[in-house]
Symmetry: C2
Subunit: 296 residues, 2 copies
């Protein structure tokens, strides 16, 4: 299968590499052109624009930062929509607005270009090891057609519903993270204030109803006040904005997510946006006057 | 070992029964006297007051509702403190204030009565099956002394620190639950508003960073709008009050927990306090105008 891959970022570059490794032909494009070079060394071809990349491929993948970036790559003057051939399939693997996704799909459909949305979770490590979780929205036959390429990048591939459903599922994931991270951060700070051995406490409760991936994998970041990546706060904040916009459009009320969004505003404003999102604990710690790694 | 057990509630009665089954002599007392009878049928003796129960036992266990109840049973006119012999050990397995716990321990120490705090999690099922998680605060030698009795009631027994530490650990557990339940409820409602198959969505994300016991075990309650026990909302609300009081005393700020506390106020006020705490989703659903089990 010939695959165009647009977006050679922290996620896109290793994902494109895994498609190459799976034996597909790959044509790459990135706005900052030199980021294409490692892929060319690995055997990929280059295209001069998204339009040119789309013109030569049956499957066109986009993996860029945010809604306007995907819109530019798809609908812009040199966009995919002007190059893609009838019957080709576009897979957007960025995390963007579900509503914008459906609007782009409708415009592509006018040109007989199909589209599915397939945002991922699992971070750069998952992208490198092809162990991403991929949440897919679209028509079943299109998802089936994409499957060999998706399987080259991810481990858990779930078709959740119609176009846009992948993005909503990703938004749900980020909303759940918001509440879980706040709960764990507040719990850790309460225990630190009381002078408890938080490693022991986390062990005591992680097997029960309070157990979570966040408690098992991020609580000690909060206790030690070090926040190595992980998942960047500013990326979660961007994704949470998408979730809150979707809630606004659909008429849902997400009070805990809104609280997390506000706290992340401040974390990012103070220069911690590139830390892991467990840096939420910075604020809860500081509100409680805990500055050193552990202090009772 | 001769054990006095005070409090034959939903938790206390099966816990006392498990101590009997492990081969210890048990003396029971309960304010509502007829609740002692099933234990008597199983081989326990009865005492007329907490003081009388304490007088004949080397280990005195309390498992009652709230801080004033423990204070009454320990310090009241017919309280444990007036009967317990020097060298005996009191184990409070109620969920109460850490500060009140330390105050009672100090008063008991004046009479040479030792005390540890050992609140539990795992619900009535855990109490019946002796699979409770027990979080213990106190001196190591006292915890060692209590261990045969604790092991008759629970599976995971963690000594987390000095007296009161068990209660703080339980408070941390409830704080983490507050955030996690809100995150999962908000995520489920967002997906329901979008008309997604939430069973599929939960499966797609539960293996990743958003995964938690709550997501795996309570999300479908929220989707189906049925909240079988489980863990009563009003008990979580009581425990969260203890956590928020501890935060107030120690000077910690717990914004998500405070939000959950307010939402639970309304749930209980409307008559849903005896439902499982996943009933938090009632509010988030209703704010989004979702009334039927699943509606897009």
């Amino acid at each position: 299968m010939k695959v165009a891959f647009i977006g050679m970022g922290t996620m896109g570059a290793p994902m494109a590499l895994n498609i190459l490794k799976a034996g597909h032909e790959v044509v790459v494009y990135n706005r900052t052109r030199e980021k294409e070079l490692p892929l060319v060394d690995a055997g990929a071809m280059r295209a001069g624009t998204p339009r040119e990349a789309a013109a030569v491929a049956g499957i066109i993948i986009t993996c860029v930062s945010d809604t306007p970036d995907v819109e530019d790559v798809v609908l812009g003057d040199e966009g995919i929509i002007h190059g893609a051939t009838a019957g080709s399939l576009m897979i957007d693997m960025s995390t963007i607005s579900p509503a914008a996704t459906r609007q782009m799909a409708a415009k592509l459909a006018d040109k007989k270009v199909r589209m599915i949305d397939a945002p991922v979770s699992g971070g750069s490590e998952g992208a490198q090891n092809a162990t991403l979780a991929i949440m897919v929205g679209g028509e079943s036959e299109d998802v089936q057609h994409a499957m060999p390429v998706l399987e080259a990048m991810g481990k858990t591939i779930t078709h959740v519903g119609r176009i846009g459903s992948g993005q909503i599922t990703k938004a749900i994931n980020q909303v759940i993270l918001a509440g879980t991270f706040m709960g764990v951060a507040e719990g850790m700070v309460l225990g630190m204030k009381a002078g408890l051995d938080m490693q022991k406490v986390a062990e005591a409760i992680s097997g029960g109803a309070a157990g979570s991936w966040v408690l098992s994998n991020r609580a000690m970041n909060m206790v030690n006040n070090t926040y190595p990546l992980g998942f960047r706060t500013k990326l979660h904040h961007k994704d949470l904005r998408i979730a809150l916009e979707a809630a606004r459009e659909m008429g849902a009320t997400l009070p805990a997510s809104a609280l997390m969004d506000q706290i992340e505003n401040g974390i990012i404003g103070r220069g911690y946006g590139d830390e892991d999102m467990s840096a939420i604990a910075r604020v809860i710690r500081e509100l409680a006057g805990i500055v050193s790694p552990v202090e009772s």
